[in-house]
Symmetry: C2
Subunit: 413 residues, 2 copies
């Protein structure tokens, strides 16, 4: 077996044999640190994990029992590459809450909405293609685009979301360089990581710009139903049925089931089904039927309202703690979702500060993770979805002292 | 919304915007026919669906209840991109039955082993790369390779599996054309679709050839534990720990759970985890914990023995029916798995004959689906896993009369 050592420290015998795209799939530098940050004594404001303990387990147990008792052989068998027909009808009801009218025939169920994004990237992106995205944008979307050798071009976002003029300018600048963006990837509602929401007026304007320029819009909307107070503007897909919409049960039910979906124009839908079949044959029949049974028998709207209450209390705790411990800094104020975007003093580097933070038992995600271009150096994403309000306050107290120490260290040079 | 019609019959407004690889993802011509073939009056020998009704539902229900009661918040939450650590340990026990010794640290859990194959293709295949595979080979592997713009080069297989000299010759012929194959994809045990098994001697020889030529072997082994009579030779991975091994619970438990895995050399494992995270964030915690609980509490070895008995009886029914109704034809004799490979008279075209067969209420998969190069025209894959022995006999009776009619039509010109 010469030439094929398998010890972890030996050189990779397959180096040079990987596809060119694989160079884009490198382990992030903060990965090792996050393993440390999962210790219980660390307050983690890093991950975007939903608080699934707010879901009564009996609701799921009841659904599973009925599925296995009444439709066991179907639940345990291969399904179709498009997903269960009844579940696809029910998904229409979920999307209707955000103003979307569609056909079950245009829904493709995927292994979380993440997989829909991976499949769309596979279907659309040639090496060197340009994807437009908010700056900052969802980190694992950036990983997916990079893994298909596309270039992400960020567009300015403010507290009302993507800035239409900035989008126009970016498209013009790319055109001047001979490049036409293929996709606009956007998380318009309770943006991950920025927490901001695209205003109703801008929604029409952004869609209009995309149409005029032949850019396919991918609307990724995991958080839209988790609003605090009044609902956000209707989804982009409610205005334009020519775009692709991604939804998921990961935040309104449970991510461990891995059930998400795409609603897509028919031609794209056809290709998504084929890509889904190639990738996984069919998404899990079992988890699809469990979700379907849950939607059929549980008061899922009330459960979403429960989640809203949980996350609103945590958002409030985070905002209060920021006002108390870091009053001089700037942060976004989310009306829903999981995230606040914090801006550190210009001199500080959030990635460089992270080891100190973890040593002081608080973790966050550095802002640069959400940019493909090195921006976000002095930003931090704070996630309030998982820790209790008390832990959130304690986490921000620790973060403030870390920032103080880092500022002092910087001042000393 | 000019330029973005969504009606099914309108031209695709995104035509010309798809990635080059997407051209390889076309719907198969037999697809529409298979929709018809799923009607209950049709005896389908086409699909490779396991007979999940042979699994007592209580075994799964019990596992699910315990998982939700005891580890609900973990089962419903995101997991890791590598998969549950306990399940990965248990997978070692499953693989040990086929002589494999590995480390749980080198196992990556995937959404069925199909997804491991998709991820490996993404990691290794640049456009124009060559993948060696048995002729015939698993149809959805061919789809995956094509979807990454690789060329599949088939290697002759006989009743003892891949022919080593044919492999040497194919590599030499490719080298003469300036091409070095990157991967050898093989289903060595109870091959899909041919039903044959690579002999023990040839296993060493094939691995030796791959090593000498720097070709990464991917051993896909969904059927190895489903043997009739004595066990097959140990897995390729038991001989060479430098290869990638793919396993699944789809045939020994239930495909609806979508739990499979790869066992890979550490460097490849690292990249597989990153690719898995990009594609789905993490495989379903819920279905992983259900499988883990099932392995922990059920007599899973006895259940596999039950499956063996079910499939052996069906294999016997198929072979008896072939001897009774089609005595002049040639077919393979599988010692396990799901498939028999039937050779029609030279003059017949199995694809062209399929509409007639479906009209006469029997379905099969045409052999050409299992070749990337147009071969297999007069072959048929018969799957005996799903229909009862009685239906299998009736299906072959119908098939014989379809073949007779087709021969008569051919003789008439």
């Amino acid at each position: 077996m010469a030439g094929r050592p398998i010890g972890d420290s030996d050189p990779d015998p397959w180096k040079g044999r990987y596809a060119a795209r694989t160079a884009g799939l490198s382990a992030s530098e903060v990965r090792a640190l996050f393993a440390v940050a999962s210790r219980p004594e660390v307050v983690s404001l890093a991950g975007g994990m939903p608080f699934v303990s707010a879901l009564p387990t009996e609701l799921v147990t009841g659904s599973v029992d009925r599925v296995l008792r009444e439709r066991g052989p179907v639940a345990l068998q291969y399904g179709s590459g498009q997903g269960d027909p009844t579940l696809r009808e029910q998904i229409l009801e979920v999307m209707a809450l955000e103003g979307i009218r569609g056909r079950a025939a245009d829904v493709v169920v995927t292994t979380g909405s993440q997989h829909a994004l991976e499949l769309l990237a596979k279907l659309f992106l040639d090496p060197g293609d340009v994807v437009l995205a908010e700056g900052p944008s969802y980190v694992t979307a950036l990983v997916v685009f990079r893994s298909f050798q596309a270039d992400v071009s960020h567009v300015l976002m403010d507290e009302h979301g993507l800035v239409p003029d900035a989008l126009r300018e970016r498209i013009a600048a790319l055109a001047a360089a001979g490049r036409v963006p293929k996709l606009l990837y956007t998380v318009p509602t309770f943006n991950n990581p920025a927490g901001v929401t695209l205003s109703a007026d801008r929604r029409r304007e952004i869609l209009q710009i995309a149409r005029e320029n032949g850019i396919l819009v991918i609307e990724d909307n995991p958080y839209g139903l988790l609003y605090f107070g009044s609902p956000p503007p209707d989804a982009l897909r409610s205005i334009d049925d020519g775009i692709v919409y991604l939804g998921t049960f990961s935040k309104t039910l449970a991510p461990g089931l891995r059930v998400g979906w795409a609603l897509a124009p028919s031609d794209i839908r056809d290709k998504l089904i084929l890509a889904n079949e190639a990738a996984v044959l069919s998404p899990s029949s079992f988890t699809q039927l469990v979700v379907s049974e849950y939607l059929d028998t549980a008061d899922w709207r009330a459960q979403i309202a429960t989640f809203r209450g949980v996350y609103e209390a945590r958002r409030d705790a985070l905002l209060a703690a920021l006002a108390e411990f870091l009053p001089d800094l700037h942060w976004t104020i989310p009306d829903g979702g999981f995230y606040v975007w914090l801006t550190l003093p210009e001199a500080l580097d959030a990635s460089a500060m992270l080891p100190r933070a973890v040593a002081d038992l608080v973790a966050y995600t550095p802002g640069s993770a959400f940019f493909a271009d090195g921006n976000g150096r002095n930003n931090i994403r704070l996630s309030f979805s998982y820790p209790t309000p008390e832990f959130i306050r304690e986490g921000i107290r620790r973060l403030a002292s870390v920032i103080d120490a880092e500022k002092a260290a910087f001042a000393r040079g």
